[in-house]
Symmetry: C2
Subunit: 319 residues, 2 copies
Amino acid sequence: IVFGTVSAKAQTDPLPSWNDGVPKKAIIELVGRVTKEGGPDFVPVPERIATFDNDGTLWCEQPFYVQMAFAFDRVKVMAPQHPEWKTKQPFKALLQGDVKTAATAGEKGLLAVIAATHSGMTVSQFEQEVRDWIKVARHPRFKRPYNELIYQPMVEVLNYLRANGFKTFIVSGGGVDFMRPWAPASYGIPPEQIVGSSGVIEFRLGKNGKPELFKTPKVQFIDDGPGKPVGISMSIGRQPIIAFGNSDGDLQMLQYTTAGSGVRLGLYVHHDDAEREYAYDRKSQIGRLDKGLDAAAKNGWPLISMKSDWKVIFPFEVK
Amino acid sequence: IVFGTVSAKAQTDPLPSWNDGVPKKAIIELVGRVTKEGGPDFVPVPERIATFDNDGTLWCEQPFYVQMAFAFDRVKVMAPQHPEWKTKQPFKALLQGDVKTAATAGEKGLLAVIAATHSGMTVSQFEQEVRDWIKVARHPRFKRPYNELIYQPMVEVLNYLRANGFKTFIVSGGGVDFMRPWAPASYGIPPEQIVGSSGVIEFRLGKNGKPELFKTPKVQFIDDGPGKPVGISMSIGRQPIIAFGNSDGDLQMLQYTTAGSGVRLGLYVHHDDAEREYAYDRKSQIGRLDKGLDAAAKNGWPLISMKSDWKVIFPFEVK
Ligand SMILES: [Ca+2]
Ligand SMILES: [Ca+2]
């Protein structure tokens, strides 16, 4: 069998949407080392764990977290059952379409919105709401469904790692039952490999004695910042070989990952492409990358420049 | 190739340690139906989830939970650092080897023992303690390591289900980091498919800035009773097709499993073999099966009689 030079190269490049920069080389080198049987850095298949932040690492998180867009839309849908929201911030502002004023309520106000819109139903009812919403909601700038705004180069990394025996996990600050309805089809990651934040769930016997899992407004676990290595420990029970993040909320996950023995790799996606996506880091309210940028420089964690490392951003750009 | 009739039968029996009773038939029938492509009950591989309680379902839990035996031994090891235990119950009784008096401290006293022996170290230090302990500890009656007292017929069920595309999970009231050091080798279930109770873990930067996960005495999640379907929802995100338990602590998991659409199966291991193992149900302090026994009768959940359904109990009985 004879392969032409060009097509052979195209066929064998596991990351065709990546330019040949430092991050691509680091990823391919790590995979080569841990899969080389008999080599000094060989890692058995069951221990090949890769973890990925979601918002801003696997999909677009600007101009606001997708889960917040969902929550804001839910406020409108639920408003008839909540007449008190007409005078109560930040609900009042959201009902008037005034996201800017709503945002002045700060984290506490946003958590109140999350609690109100993410509780009072069963887990399966909630997941159906997410499924219905993601079909019709559109990104304000790209005018496309949010789940089309995943990063093509990261999808290639997921496939490449899995093809080399890695088990891929999402480890996100977002709600686990917000991700499970759409993430498996988008990333090829099954529900049981999605780790996220969660509210307290109550088991109840509903009508006809049928069991149901009821979502309460109480917080069970916040899978962000120092919560990420904790979530990894609780849900996965193994230290990752490679981890990807994009913000200070991933700092501890990258510290935890790269502190493991043997060869390990932590990488940050750096949003520096205002033209094709967004450019933000140290001063952003959403996805702030400040301490993480310093830690990356200090520890030699590769920064993935969206502008120069990625040939395309989204799958729909691929011909 | 010619197979003799007898050896062919032996070779093709997926559950050779089981007698041909109702539970064996029910398990094999379920597997046949969900794996029959094009059939009315076909279930795609990713949705083939099987969950197993651990204590009393996969291994022996009498005369006391193995994790309690571990905790009692830890009290002795840790006593020099805790002079106050000399006068404080139930620690005082445990240090005198008087488990009976210690047990009178009730659930609250036992939880205090768990908290004291399961916190104050990192997760990896704790897992090392478990690993070291399980090598040397011996069951008081069988005089063998506890992890040799797993149930051979259940190991066969695990293998049989996995050979048919099922992903097998432990869903146990026991501590997740007590199980992970030994359960993967015993059952072929990886750490990330072990769901259990957990304490609050804190991420810290220790000496030399090295990240560590510190076990605190606070409770994070109790994966027992109504907590089991909740734990399944949080950690797996799918309703099991088949679930095995042995006590009232599994009742809600079996309700949740069998309430799913399509073909589902919930089974109870019934400890009715005092000669080869133990006989206990409605009145036992450990592994009580009372409400569950009524629910099994009402719902038609097969009871697995250890006495009549199992040819052998433990792997070491297999020639
Ligand atoms: Ca992020
Ligand atoms: Ca049990």
